[in-house]
Amino acid sequence: MGGFYGAVVTRGFRRYATYRSATAAGVVTNSVFGLIIAYSYIALWDQRPHLGGYSEPQALTYVWVGQAMLAVMALMGGGFEDELMDRIRSGDIAVDLMRPADLQTWWLSADLGRAAFQLLGRGVAPMVCGALLFDLALPSAPGTWLLFLVSVALGVVVSFGLRFLVALSAFWLLDGVGATQMAMLAGLFFSGMLLPLNVFPGGLGEVARALPWSAMLQVPADVLLGRHRGTGALAALAFQAGWAVLLLAAGRQLQGVAARRVVVQGG
């Protein structure tokens, strides 16, 4: 069966790779926002050097990692969840549940393919743009980059886990717009997209760093910046893996409940 889901991953990749001009347009948007946010961070770090333990080049690197991760982690939507919710609302989900493929694994595979393309298509170019315009603190050790890739992959699974739960809420709510919107707000705020979580004041920062959303940006960025070394890096990856397993298990439970007791809407 590994070959089957592998094929779904490939198709997920190719599906998003089809829209080249949309990808180029997305890169422009990421770069423009990266530029604007970078200047606001420079003004902030100018006043408070070493804020949150970051030097200015590290803070700027954080900005561009954030822009690179925006599409990969589907922080502002654009993942599979709208499609799945549509299928739940229209009743097409009944057909999906009868297929000889597991619903969660199917969508996870498709989303991994999407994320892999977004990493190449929407992640690399803004990073290069940022590195050309600003003095960034990028690591030279290949091992750090490898750890970063593992951390990104784990972050994508956490992101999927959360979005799968949101999508399944459509079994009960039918209209998932509200749930999607709440999830997006929480994601933007608690992932560290607005400001690094170690800049959040006091208790709010501590809570935010323990929540699953931090696995989507804060942890991968800190891994790339070399703030987790040796066993610290393993602990960071274990934190992500823990949330990934927990969320996937919760999704599986919810999928079971939904399939058993919810009457599918006729179309």
Partner: protein, 295 residues
């Protein structure tokens, strides 16, 4: 039929198009406004059929757009001034651009759907209706929930006006509403020009967002923190600096980083009107060059 452009189809149907054959569409502002109001009223009624959903999405819009301000507030947890501006001063910049952008977003924000209509061919339907296409596209799927952004902008602006340390001379008082209206018109011109560009590049909606949403984000911060070339770009190329920076700097009694002549602080209404000319020309050129996908 296949080799006819929709423009030719419309011209061949004078009764339906409501104008004589082979004649350039005349500029009919009253007619356009009437059509716009009619379509908007229809979408508002449709929205109000699901009242709870409307309230929730409007609140969501308010919260989502408020995240930007939350970022600024979190920054000020660590500092007293950003680029030399206090929190109420940054809030004045923020509130002004958010309100202006909110008005443009509410009235013309649906125009970024034009690319999709070109791609799937549904624009042809709009060409056949006896109403100006621009009014139809602008009112298409009018999203009342965007009131959330305006509300949020007005709240921040109101707070800023109460807290900011300014001598309220008659000129400064008058400059605030002038700034809001001119800003809305400038952003509106960007929306129309962006929509015209989508006739050429149907997937370019996101490039347009980088100017509109990105511009709005940039204007929320003091101009002094950005590179001079970037500030020159949004002053002379896409004149977004006239949305809030120049008039607000005058109100706050601060010099602008480019050292521009003082009278430019009052030039926003003129710049706004000037922006409409290239936007209108681009729209007409785009519409004339449009060829249907045929599907």
């Amino acid at each position: 039929m296949a080799e006819l452009t929709p423009g030719e189809v419309a011209a061949a149907l004078p009764a339906a198009a409501g104008r004589p054959e082979h004649q350039e569409p005349r500029w009919q502002p009253a007619e356009a406004m009437r059509a716009y109001a009619l379509i908007v009223r229809m979408w508002v009624r449709s929205t109000m059929a699901y009242r709870t959903s409307f309230v929730l999405t409007a609140l969501g819009n308010l919260a989502a757009t408020g995240l930007d301000f939350l970022t600024i507030v979190l920054m000020f947890a660590h500092i007293h001034a950003l680029g030399g501006f206090t929190l109420p001063e940054v809030a004045l910049l923020y509130g002004a651009t958010s309100t202006s952008f909110g008005i443009a977003d509410l009235t013309l924000g649906s125009m970024d759907r034009l690319g999709r209509r070109v791609r799937d061919g549904t624009l042809d339907v709009l060409l056949l209706r006896p109403a100006p296409v621009l009014a139809q596209v602008a009112a298409d799927r009018f999203a009342l929930r965007r009131l959330g952004r305006i509300t949020q902008g007005v709240l921040v602006l109101g707070w800023a006006l109460l807290r900011v340390d300014v001598r309220w001379s008659p000129v400064n008082v008058a400059l605030v509403p002038v700034m809001l209206v001119s800003g809305a018109v400038i952003f509106g011109a960007v929306y129309v020009a962006g929509a015209a560009f989508q006739f050429l590049a149907q997937d370019a909606a996101e490039v347009q967002s980088s100017v509109t949403y990105g511009g709005n984000t940039m204007l929320q911060y003091p101009p002094g923190i950005f590179a001079r070339d970037l500030v020159r770009g949004v002053t002379f190329v896409v004149p977004l600096a006239f949305v809030n920076w120049l008039p607000a700097l005058h109100v706050l009694g601060r010099p602008d980083p480019l050292g521009l002549p003082g009278w430019l602080d009052f030039a926003s209404p003129a710049v706004a009107l000037l922006c409409c000319l290239p936007a209108a020309a681009a729209w007409r050129a785009g519409l004339r060059a449009y060829r249907s996908t045929g599907s």
